[in-house]
């Protein structure tokens, strides 16, 4: 399926004057620059003895450096391919010598502008991404020459349509069942179509050789990505929100440079572990996040609250598509033939996914297993199930997950919010009460 530009008529676009667009863009951009500066400052304050290499990630947290690089790359003829969802195989983009960037939006204010097209009941990621597009706010979305969207939840599905008013959109449709006979072959054919679209845009043929090189490049990132997470199994050598930021930057940074910097970070953290040089006291309650994606910068509300709370908590793991899930699983290639590589690629982006768009008799078993494994191996003491309004699939799966986690005797707290700062005081009380509860359990 392909919503090409051949459909000339705009389907969703609303009338808005150029002057209003500019006013909104400038004021919101100034506001989020402030938010980024403030959050980075708070993260620095929260981890005074941080390794030097963290400064690189704090710098990248501000989108402007990467934006300049993308503009430069474009002027040299490179193509930027945005994606809204982690179902997009970045290997294919890299193999065509294009640049992948994730474009889903974590900014609060544009969500209100998104309301002009989609009703307020819709999840704020969608509304915010739409709003950002209306006013040309998001640097990565603006630079993208085309978008890959996955038809996972209802929001993502309709977002594809809306975005196709502005850019070429290539949809990929994951099957909702993983294990039927047709599932993998259907998904593989979706990716083949995507490959053809990427080749057409970039004018670069994806060959066995280039695909192998791309897979190997991502493998290096996978290894570091995993290493960073495995380090969080131990005593706390890195604050959770810092680790989350590092993870998230991989979604817009140059992957090779990210790998190099993240590796330096891991080496430093390993040293610190040996020296028992910790980021916070070892008895700090260990929290895992699961649920709706948490996207930098605005939506850092919850990580900030947890790690600045009294009593303090530390996020040691997450099951977020914006977090630990992103580069965790490598493409598992047996034979480096094109056919095999492509099948392995399709498997990688289908089988390990814990997205709640899947269902099975056991009820999204892979997500349950991921969470159980994390709780055990990462010694998680409490799980916060994070939901924003309109995130129907994650909200509906809560009971299934809660039942599974109850068996492990790990408390789960359902925290519902929206893209807003108004409820920070109320959420703070909830988070602190939950952490007090965990602390009381630990002290027994």
């Amino acid at each position: 399926m392909d919503f090409k530009r051949s459909i000339k008529e705009k389907k969703y676009v609303v009338e808005i004057s150029q002057r209003e667009v500019e006013e909104l863009r400038n004021s919101i951009r100034a506001a989020y620059d402030k938010v980024i500066a403030d959050y980075v400052e708070r993260m620095k304050r929260g981890w005074a003895g941080r390794p030097k290499v963290m400064d690189y990630f704090y710098e990248m947290a501000d989108f402007s450096r990467r934006e300049k690089e993308l503009i430069e790359a474009k002027s040299e003829g490179k193509k930027i391919i945005g994606y809204t969802c982690v179902f997009a195989p970045v290997e294919l983009i890299l193999a065509a010598d294009a640049i992948p960037v994730r474009v889903s939006c974590g900014l609060y204010e544009p969500a209100k502008i998104g309301n002009r097209i989609v009703p307020v009941e819709v999840c704020p990621v969608i509304r915010s991404t739409v709003g950002a597009k209306i006013i040309g706010l998001s640097p990565f979305l603006e630079q993208s020459d085309a978008l890959i969207t996955a038809l996972t939840c209802d929001g993502m599905t309709k977002l594809s349509e809306i975005m196709s008013d502005y850019k070429p959109v290539w949809t990929i449709c994951p099957p909702r069942l993983k294990d039927t006979e047709q599932s993998l072959s259907f998904w593989r054919s979706e990716l083949l179509t995507l490959k053809a679209n990427i080749e057409k845009l970039t004018g670069t043929k994806i060959t066995g050789k280039s695909l192998r090189r791309a897979i190997e490049r991502v493998h290096r990132a996978n290894r570091v990505f995993r290493k960073l997470q495995n380090l969080r199994k131990e005593k706390p050598v890195i604050m959770g929100r810092d680790a989350m930021l590092v993870t998230q930057i991989a979604m817009w940074d140059d992957l090779e440079r990210w790998t190099e910097k993240a590796e330096l970070l891991c080496i430093e953290l390993e040293e610190r572990l040996k020296e028992n040089n910790l980021a916070c006291p070892p008895d700090t309650p260990r929290v895992m996040l699961t649920g709706s994606p948490i996207i930098w910068p605005d939506n850092w509300k919850l990580p900030n609250l947890i790690e600045e709370a009294k009593p303090q908590g530390i996020i040691v793991a997450d099951e977020l598509c914006s977090g630990d899930r992103f580069l965790y699983d490598p493409v598992g290639v047996d034979e480096w033939t094109f056919e095999d590589m492509f099948t392995a690629l399709a498997e990688r982006y289908l089988m390990p996914s814990t997205c709640p768009c899947f269902t099975s008799e056991a009820g999204n078993e892979d997500r349950v297993n991921w969470l159980i494994n994390r709780v055990k191996e990462w010694r998680v003491e409490g799980v916060i199930y994070y939901i924003y309004r309109g995130c129907m699939l994650y909200a509906m799966e809560y009971m299934r997950i809660k039942h599974a986690l109850d068996h492990l005797n790990v408390p789960t707290y359902y925290l519902d919010t929206d893209y807003t700062r108004e409820d920070v005081g109320q959420i703070k009380t909830r988070v602190e009460a939950f952490l007090e509860m965990l602390k009381a359990r630990i002290e027994i």
């Binding site: 009294k310 408390p411 707290y413 359902y414 519902d416 108004e422 409820d423 005081g425 109320q426 009380t429 909830r430 602190e432 009460a433 939950f434 007090e436 509860m437 009381a440 359990r441």
Partner: protein, 297 residues
């Protein structure tokens, strides 16, 4: 008082001292200060027993409210603020209690306080405060096992009662009893929103409903909300109600009939200060004692 100038919403602010609990030389003196959105509570404990208690309306500034309610609790005692070994602040305004050595959330404090008021058999606590409702489950020591809180909206809380008291011209402390004075329980109001409470109540009055019936309908809707929250957290016996609404028989009796279970009886708090409305401050004072002892070790 002249008719018309009466402030129906005004509930009783009070201060009680129990001189028989007066401190000795070696006593551990602690205090809990609970700054809620509507009321502020302070409790002074001597060796973990209530010596003095005060409850008053929260003003526009949390630090001022904390100072005032604490001063009132110290009044007619032999104590000065500096005699108190350890103070814990709690409630919505907990970070703005200037004299507090430490803070804890009201959720932990209400569980601890309910455990003190009714003993170790309390398993579920319904705390209905000025602007929120909490359902808390705890163990025999008063430790929180799980909890739920309503969202940011103040529907079905103490603040809503104040609005109605004003509108219907019924003193707030009599509203519960008045609401039970109906032949038949009416349908609950469709919306317990504080902002719309006035509008909806007026509409019902214009339709010829009696004040009693309007109150019954509103309280029933509030009780349903509370029961939903309790059922979601998994309501287990014994159930205690804390916060200002624990004194509202109109709410309590409806919660009991909807759940098909009794709530723990209102203690004779005027004799010993075990006022469920002050459960948060009581719990905070108990935590203060534990924290003081821990710090001394």
């Amino acid at each position: 008082m002249i008719e018309g100038s009466q402030q129906y919403w005004r509930w009783r602010e009070y201060h009680l001292v129990f001189p028989e609990k007066r401190p000795k030389q070696s006593s551990i003196i602690t205090a809990g200060v609970d700054i809620g959105s509507v009321s502020s509570k302070a409790v002074i404990m001597v060796n973990g027993e209530i010596y003095s208690i005060s409850i008053m309306r929260t003003g526009s500034s949390s630090p001022d409210s904390a100072k005032k309610v604490m001063e009132w609790a110290l009044k007619d005692t032999e104590l000065k603020l500096s005699d108190i070994h350890y103070i814990v602040g709690t409630g919505y305004g907990r970070v703005n209690v200037p004299m507090a050595h430490n803070t804890l959330t009201e959720i932990a404090c209400h569980a601890k306080g309910a455990n003190y008021i009714w003993g170790p058999t309390v398993r579920t606590i319904l705390d209905v405060g000025g602007q929120d409702i909490k359902a808390i489950k705890c163990d025999e020591k008063g430790k929180v096992l799980s909890f739920l809180m309503n969202d940011k909206c103040a529907a079905g809380t103490g603040r809503g009662m104040e609005v109605l008291a004003d509108l219907l011209k019924i003193p707030i402390e009599e509203m519960g009893a008045v609401s039970l004075n109906v032949d038949e329980e009416p349908e609950p109001v469709s919306c317990t929103c504080v902002a719309f409470a006035r509008t909806e109540a007026m509409w019902l009055l214009r339709r010829g409903w009696t004040k009693e019936k309007v109150l019954a309908a509103y309280m029933r809707a509030m009780a349903i909300r509370m029961c939903n929250l309790l059922q979601r957290v998994g309501c287990e016996s014994e159930l205690a109600v804390t916060g200002g609404q624990s004194k509202n028989v109109g709410i309590i009796s409806r919660v009991e009939s909807l759940l098909g279970m009794k709530t723990l009886p209102m203690p004779e708090w005027e004799k010993d200060g075990r006022d469920p409305m002050a459960a948060g401050a009581i719990g905070a004072a108990l935590f203060a004692k534990a924290l003081h002892e821990k710090a001394k070790k």
